[in-house]
């Protein structure tokens, strides 16, 4: 079967069995290895992507269910990437120098120390991105609920919560 997907703003077609996991389609058929497999049973959230804006664990999604969907992955979060709504953000000279291509949420993670080993980070960023897009009040509790499906073993979550809060605050400043 052939499936049509929009990935990070670009249309693509894949000819694969319908029950092939979206995670495998992304990683092996399309070479987008940002999403990770941590458990293969939907518990860890390392494979989280956005399906039409909603968080989904791509290890539990057969590709036949996403025909025609808009899919966003960590590869689509950078400022230079296509399909990202966010194009600006308050910046910091040091992190700018480190990588000028980072989007606002990625930049906030870099500044606060929200990424350590980095394996949960792609999924965590997608969960954070969905939270920012939701327009919900960025209370600590709301942020924690938004990332409760994503396990991190390095950070204790404190700096991840701070990163999302920082990005939310900057988004509000820009919108105000």
């Amino acid at each position: 079967m052939t499936y049509r997907l929009t990935i990070n703003g670009a249309s693509t077609e894949v000819a694969v069995p319908g029950m092939r996991r979206l995670l495998d389609v992304l990683r092996e058929d399309l070479g987008l290895t940002g999403a990770k497999e941590g458990c293969g049973e939907g518990e860890c959230g390392a494979c989280t992507v956005l399906l039409d804006g909603a968080v989904a664990v791509s290890c539990l999604v057969p590709v036949c269910q996403v025909d025609g969907c808009d899919i966003r992955t960590v590869e689509g979060l950078g400022r230079g990437a296509t399909g990202t709504g966010a194009t600006t953000g308050a910046t910091d000279a040091a992190t700018d120098a480190a990588d000028p291509q980072l989007g606002p949420l990625q930049r906030a993670f870099l500044e606060t120390g929200g990424a350590q080993c980095g394996i949960c980070t792609p999924g965590m960023l997608m969960a954070g991105e969905a939270f920012l897009a939701s327009g919900a009040e960025p209370t600590e509790q709301a942020i924690r609920e938004a990332i409760a499906g994503n396990l991190c073993r390095c950070t204790g979550y404190t700096k991840i919560v701070e990163a999302i809060a920082l990005a939310a605050a900057r988004q509000t400043e820009l919108g105000a």
């Binding site: 990683r27 987008l32 290895t33 940002g34 999403a35 990770k36 497999e37 941590g38 458990c39 293969g40 049973e41 860890c44 390392a46 992955t73 960590v74 590869e75 950078g78 910091d92 040091a94 120098a97 480190a98 990588d99 291509q101 980072l102 906030a108 870099l110 500044e111 606060t112 120390g113 990424a115 350590q116 080993c117 980095g118 394996i119 980070t121 792609p122 009040e137 960025p138 209370t139 600590e140 924690r144 609920e145 409760a148 994503n150 396990l151 991190c152 073993r153 390095c154 950070t155 204790g156 979550y157 404190t158 700096k159 919560v161 701070e162 809060a165 920082l166 990005a167 605050a169 509000t172």
Partner: protein, 787 residues
């Protein structure tokens, strides 16, 4: 050394060690904070864009997939490996012990663990590797797996460490006269504490890819902490030269000790298949295999007898420590050594006897996990001290003040603490920041006024710990580590070290340290890939030794490089090194570890300076216990850690926060249940770790009491927070409910049993057994005899 480093301890009124804490109003918006001054994580942008390549992200065209056939019994004689003749084996590579070119041994402390169990040999634990398969596609491999049968003859297993007769190691420590101390005490308190397995649960599973080299050797790319451990294992198991074995670390998604030793096994397996097939072979564990087969934190049983005076002075500690090593020696003797030395806690007690023993059971081998034995023995020590305080009617804070090590204190190995002794300081800082006594009097009031209508109970708990920095005893001197620093002909400055990045910040702090020493910007110092073909053996990335030991060696190298260049140019290094590189060509400095002056340990008598320095940690936890379900919510933790010197405040805080949450998981929810020596909850649906909603607010306070024998004063941070979290939570549960929970984790079942005054559930960490074996065990009084 960095612009952020503050001399000495942070003043109490200035928590500016880090930027202002997250400001949170109960319902209103929250604001994050930005890092200032310290450089961003070196490999951060790659991790944040998905560009960082972890092992499973690496593509090797034509690679085959490998898999491991494992035992399904805890103990048996392997009679035969049978391949179904009806299956087409022409497309599958099969490797058994008979195909191993070198020694069938995973090189480690002892030579007891085979790479694959040989036919005729003994299977010693569930999920033990017996044979390897590889195929060009996953479907063929899956079918082949189901066509392999192991023919075995069951043997009687040992599950209870108390019944085991095979000892891996034992240590005895004595200071003063414990019997006289107990005899003179006003009060003697006894207690037994039991802890089970804990899984590291890095989110990236173990993974290795082996690629055959034209010279007959093999290159192994993988998720690992210690490139040269794998290198040594490949040389021995494959009987190849040092040059033919190449180990390259891929981006590594967490380790916590779990990728210290088992990568040697997986690397050998992948390499054997790669040499057999002539193809790259991928050995990527899924979560189930990783949980079922790889090492865990050692279960332990610790018994304390403590003599105390009515004024709170502890005068005698008599401690027995038993650790379950699992089926093979692995790193158990070293884990036991650290556990034994730390077993009394950070207290200067005149009469101490500590007896530590580690034994074999027919369960998967236990190994390294952040803290390396100390979390087990210090959980027991701290919970015991809290019970002693209760017995003499003293506050947990006050009893610690009266017993904590001060400068000049003498440890059970007869080590005199000559500097960097910050136990009292971290204790006071934690008590102050948490308002410990004020909250404690409030919770006591709530407890006495509690009625049956109350549905929840709040409590606060305190714990204090010490953690020896770097290797135990003579370990570092024996390791003979080397780092190199290179000024290349094109004017680049490059660090060459085998120290790995697994999230803790190696690739950021080491360039920071060298840049500061040479007066260069952070960006000007590169760090070479962790590839054994490029970098020297700087020792393993373990024991919180990277900042202190490897950082110290790099400062030595940087000073020599600077002197050499300045000697030639007559100008400051930063202004002249590019000119020097152009005119003189490249300069490489190899710096070997030099033992710290005046630090010595005698392995034969097990006395002397067990560690060159100690880090100190205190934690205060507040919990809420649901009185209907006995569920525990950890609400907040104040963590105060003396790391010697903070190199990078954000990364350092990150270590404390992450370690604290791992300790909370250990205290409350992380438990492995076993039956017939098999881990029952060997999936992520059943082995639980804390989520963002389970995690408390963690306030980190960093204290700097430097180690004077390294120029930068750093003592390490990785393991410290792991020692204090669990006893602080258990103390808080007691403060809330009045119940002491001596077994970890403090599950609702254990808390309910304690509150009801009934027998607790099964002890943690000990396998239940099928009735057939229980019957056999009764018939055979000495199950270990045939070994």
């Amino acid at each position: 050394m960095t612009t952020d480093t503050r001399p000495g301890a942070v003043p109490a009124d200035q928590p500016a060690a880090a930027p202002a804490p997250l400001i949170v109003t109960p319902d209103g918006p929250t604001r994050g904070r930005a890092m200032s001054g310290a450089p961003p994580r070196r490999e951060g942008p790659a991790k944040l864009t998905g560009a960082a390549l972890y092992t499973d992200d690496l593509v090797f065209p034509g690679a085959w997939y490998g898999t491991t056939i494992r035992s399904t019994e805890p103990r048996a004689r392997l009679l035969a490996i049978e391949l179904d003749p009806a299956f087409d084996w022409s497309k599958v590579a099969v490797v058994t012990a008979a195909d191993i070119p070198g020694d069938n041994v995973v090189a480690s402390i002892a030579a007891d663990q085979p790479i694959l169990v040989p036919v005729g040999g003994e299977i010693r634990h569930q999920a033990e590797p017996v044979a390897l398969l590889a195929a060009a596609d996953r479907e063929t491999l899956r079918q082949a797996r189901s066509r392999v049968r192991l023919r075995t003859e069951a043997l009687l297993p040992v599950f209870d460490p108390l019944a085991s007769t095979l000892e891996f190691a034992h240590y005895d420590l004595a200071k003063g006269d414990v019997e006289a101390g107990l005899a003179g005490a006003d009060l003697i308190v006894e207690g037994t504490y039991r802890v089970g397995h804990q899984e590291q649960l890095y989110i990236e599973n173990n993974a290795m890819i082996a690629v055959p080299r034209p010279d007959g050797g093999v290159a192994v790319h993988g998720s690992l902490q210690c490139p040269y451990y794998v290198h040594k294992a490949l040389r021995r198991g494959l009987a190849i030269d040092a040059d033919q074995a190449q180990v390259i670390q891929a981006e590594t998604g967490g380790g916590f000790g779990g990728k210290e030793e088992y990568p040697s096994m997986i690397g050998l397996h992948a390499a054997l298949l790669a040499l057999r097939t002539g193809k790259p072979v991928r050995m990527i564990y899924d979560r189930h295999e990783d949980l079922a087969a790889t090492t865990k934190r050692h279960p332990a049983i610790v018994t304390h007898r403590t003599g105390v005076m009515n004024d709170g002075r502890v005068v005698a500690q008599d401690i027995d420590l038993l650790m379950d090593g699992g089926a093979y020696t692995t790193l158990t003797p070293v884990v036991l050594s650290r556990a034994t030395i730390h077993a009394g806690g950070p207290y200067d007690i005149p009469n101490v006897r500590i007896r530590g023993r580690a034994v074999m059971t027919n369960t998967p081998p236990n190994g390294a996990f952040r803290g390396f034995g100390a979390p087990q023995s210090e959980f027991a020590a701290e919970t015991q001290l809290n019970r002693v305080a209760e017995a003499v009617g003293m506050s947990p804070l006050e009893i610690r003040r009266r017993n904590v090590y001060r400068l000049g204190g003498i440890t059970p190995t007869q080590q005199v603490l000559r500097g960097g002794v910050a136990g009292a300081e971290v204790l006071e800082r934690a008590a102050e920041a948490s308002e410990f006594e004020r909250v404690r009097s409030r919770t006591a009031g709530a407890r006495s006024g509690r009625t049956s209508r109350d549905r929840t109970a709040r409590g606060i708990g305190l714990a204090l710990a010490w953690h020896g920095a770097g290797f135990t005893g003579s370990g570092e001197a024996k390791m003979g580590s080397v780092v190199s620093l290179e000024l290349s002909a094109d004017g680049g400055v490059r660090i060459l070290t085998a120290s790995t990045e697994m999230g803790q910040g190696t690739k950021t702090i080491l360039p920071q340290i060298v840049a500061a020493e040479l007066g260069l910007p952070f960006e000007a110092v590169e760090i070479a890939p962790q590839d054994t073909a490029l970098v020297p053996d700087s020792g393993p990335t373990v024991a919180s030794r990277t900042a202190m030991v490897v950082g110290g060696m790099l400062i030595g190298a940087a000073r020599r490089l600077r002197d050499e260049v300045e000697g030639r140019t007559g100008r400051p290094f930063a202004e002249s090194y590019r000119d020097d590189a152009r005119s003189h060509g490249s300069t490489r400095i190899d710096q070997a570890f030099e033992p710290y002056p005046g630090v010595g340990f005698d392995d034969a008598t097990y006395t002397g300076d067990a560690y060159p320095a100690y880090g100190w940690a205190a934690a205060v936890a507040e919990v809420e216990v649901d009185l209907d379900t006995a569920e525990v919510a950890v609400i907040s933790v104040v963590a105060v850690d003396d790391v010697g010197r903070v190199i990078h405040p954000v990364l350092c805080e990150g270590q404390v926060e992450g370690g604290t949450l791992q300790a909370i998981g250990y205290a409350t929810i992380e438990e492995i249940k076993l039956h017939d020596g098999r881990y029952l909850n060997d999936r992520l649906q059943t082995y639980l770790i804390p989520t963002a909603l389970d995690a408390p607010r963690i306030e980190t306070i960093l204290v700097e009491s430097p180690f004077k024998d390294v120029p930068h004063g750093a003592k390490g941070v990785g393991e410290l927070p792991m020692d204090v979290g669990a006893p602080a939570v258990i103390a808080a549960i007691h403060d809330a409910t009045g119940a002491w929970i001596p077994d970890l984790p403090a599950t609702p079942e254990r808390i309910m049993a304690a509150l009801a005054g009934i027998a607790p559930p099964d002890p943690p960490g000990i396998s239940t057994a099928s009735t057939a074996w229980v019957a056999d065990a009764t018939a055979d009084a000495d199950p270990g005899a045939e070994r």
